[in-house]
């Protein structure tokens, strides 16, 4: 065997898993991380910059460290020598800046020895073998977390190949007249960005956006809400994931006031279809489902994994049941782990998967 643990995917979900395993007592040499960029926030950084995101939607515990405490609010309070972040966080009103978050990622990267574990390689195939999993020609690992990230940006079919169209998560500026397709956090951010740039904005959407502070009700981040989700039959679980997969953004005057003001000036309107503006920004998120990811699609096909619609069926701890036993673990992290944790594509979701993996590794080590 090459090593006890491997993480396929060098993004934030893999980074969280690495930090969690380190906290659990593994050395950097015990963990191999396979990714394309040594900066775990590289992809996220580009997307956040593209939509000019300044603050995180997540709150104080939206960080990559393995333990909830100290959260980003505590760190900010210490750094700023102010109790304001603490008061904000007890009222669930603290949202770290993107800068604070990225600074935290850098600190944790150095602290956990991420670079010692990182190997620049794109894994194409995960193959179950005796006592573990073979990752291309990089060897066999007993415990593997696959966190490949989102499989790509989603574009509306009717805009495919349209030169006016740009995805919100791609670098772009704003034309005089802008159509923003979508109704989630990225879309709402783009309305404000375009309005601030002096554009006239048309929000293209077929339904009213959902307004929630986080992308799921808070009880679904803990066992309180998860227990019912895990007990639910497949069809119910799919319906639930579809329902909460619908885009949403938070309530609050910071979101509403600029839009209302612009609407009063005739610079913001809502339409059901694109109307021919010079620029169409697609704030339509990511492709969904394992079939869009080559690695996951091959994994399912070669091992006959159970799936339901676009989701790979997972145990409640985010492991693949048919490929996990006391001697080896295959777990999914990030967006593909929604069958176990509906908010799997959040930092809290990444920690959930990572903790599941850590429990397995610890049980294996003390066997």
């Amino acid at each position: 065997m090459t090593g006890p643990c491997a993480i396929v995917g060098g993004g934030l979900a893999g980074f969280v898993a690495h930090a969690t395993l380190r906290k659990g007592g593994l050395e950097p040499a015990d963990i191999a991380v396979f990714g394309s960029d040594p900066d775990p926030a590289a992809v996220w950084r580009v997307r956040a910059a593209a939509i000019r995101q300044r603050r995180m939607r997540s709150e104080s515990d939206g960080h990559c460290a393995p333990a909830t405490f100290p959260g980003l609010a505590v760190r900010a309070a210490l750094r700023r020598r102010s109790v304001v972040p603490l008061l904000q966080t007890v009222a669930d009103r603290y949202h770290p800046t993107v800068g604070e978050f990225l600074e935290h990622v850098e600190e944790l990267r150095a602290e956990t020895g991420w670079d010692e574990s990182f190997r620049r390689a794109r894994i194409e195939q995960v193959r179950a073998v005796e006592g573990g999993f073979e990752l291309d020609d990089h060897g066999v690992f007993a415990h593997v977390l696959v966190a490949p990230g989102h499989p790509g940006l989603a574009f509306p079919e009717e805009l495919a190949g349209d030169p006016r169209a740009v995805h919100a998560y791609e670098p772009h500026d704003y034309a005089e007249e802008v159509e923003v397709v979508g109704a989630g956090m990225a879309a709402a951010t783009e309305w404000l960005n375009a309005l601030a740039a002096g554009s006239t904005v048309t929000s293209v959407r077929r339904r009213e956006p959902e307004r929630r502070p986080l992308n799921l009700p808070r009880e679904l981040f803990t066992r309180r809400g998860l227990a019912g989700f895990h007990r639910a039959p497949d069809a119910e679980r799919v319906a639930f994931l579809r329902r909460y997969g619908a885009p949403s953004y938070p309530r609050g005057p910071a979101w509403d006031e600029p839009v209302e003001r612009a609407a009063g000036e005739g610079r913001f309107r809502v339409a059901a279809e694109p109307n021919g503006a010079g620029q169409v920004i697609c704030a339509t998120g990511f492709k969904r489902g394992f079939r869009h990811d080559g690695l996951l699609a091959r994994l399912v096909a070669e091992h006959g994994l159970e799936t339901v619609e676009g989701w790979i069926v997972l145990a409640p701890d985010s492991t693949v049941p048919s490929l996990t036993d006391t001697g080896r673990t295959l777990a999914l992290g990030g967006a593909p782990a929604q069958w176990a944790f509906p908010a799997a594509d959040t930092l809290v979701g990444a920690k959930y998967s990572a903790r599941g993996l850590l429990r397995r590794v610890q049980a294996w080590r003390t066997r």
């Binding site: 333990a67 405490f69 066992r223 309180r224």
Partner: protein, 393 residues
Amino acid sequence: MAYTLRGRLESRLAATLAPLLAACVVALVAKAWWPVELAALMLAVGLALDAAVYHRVLPYQPGWAALPLGLLELGAVMGLARLLDVAAPLAAALAFFAGAWLIAQVLAHAVLPLARLSYGDDGGELGRPGAAVAALALIVLGSAVGVAWTTQPPVVRLEAGIHQGPLVLDRSQRLVGEAGAVVRGGIVVTADDVTVRDVTVVGGEIGIEVDGAERVVLDGVEVLWAELDGINVRRGTVTVRDCVIREPIGSHAQGIDISFSFDLGPSVVERCTVTGGMEGIVTHFARALVRDNLVSETTLRAITLTEMSMADVEGNEVEDALGVGIFCGDYSMCRIEENSVSGTVADVESGDRTRMGFGILSHYGAEATLADNRLRGNARPTGSFLRASISSE
């Protein structure tokens, strides 16, 4: 945090463990069981609210909710403590509760998430350690309550009827009178941790005498026809509540006299009715809380705090005293609040300027601080003599 029910209960029990152990230590050091009783009440109230209210009403509990929920629990605990006669001093009880609350917050927000990475994911559940912690908390509590129970003084029942005194209580015990139990000739308490409840004492020079004994409780006693003092406490600490002292015989009789115990700790006299006698309630060189009593028809002073006493006098009713209603004298420090003093008449025959019907009087270097007292129908409302001060808040 979105707690599961089990998570709430386990977190609660884990957070109670340290205060519970602290309560046991304080109880042993102070030789008083109220810390354990208070900790047990806190735990019982917390668990009941967790199971019956919080779990249903709060699917998600934001951080700020800890404060109003803490205040709710504090109110319930203090209310129950009063109802169940837990003898916890208010300041100590509040400090204990605040400390326990703070520990719970630090545990829930910092220690447990650090100790158990999945604490948040698990809705506050602690897994196997949680069961152990819960069991430990319950074992500690059970042991403390068991020890408290087994070390309680024996209960001695006094049958209905007349018992010839003086009755000398020289061992820790609870003397509980049945309805109609009467002691003729007085009771003398010389041992610590004695409780006398529901007993009527008739005659004798002193109705109930506490001599060099601490933590004595006189609850629901009635004293009639005492020649000198209804209740006399020397070098001791007492809690006297719901008593009746009436119809004293001697011209120098006093209702309740607590003296020379300044260094021992405070005594409490509450909800007593004292009628007649020279002085109703009097302290000499003692610390005392005198509250919610009715004192009337005294011939020297109704309530006297003197000889460097330090006392809080709250919510008492003083009626028809001759000379002085409430007296703070001889370098004592008195906080006199929310009392009603009425019908104090001047003792003209004495020819003493300080006895000319003062509702409240400060005398000879004493410091009296007044707040919200009702003074009606007194010959003079307030006065101060001989470098004494009287001030209002």
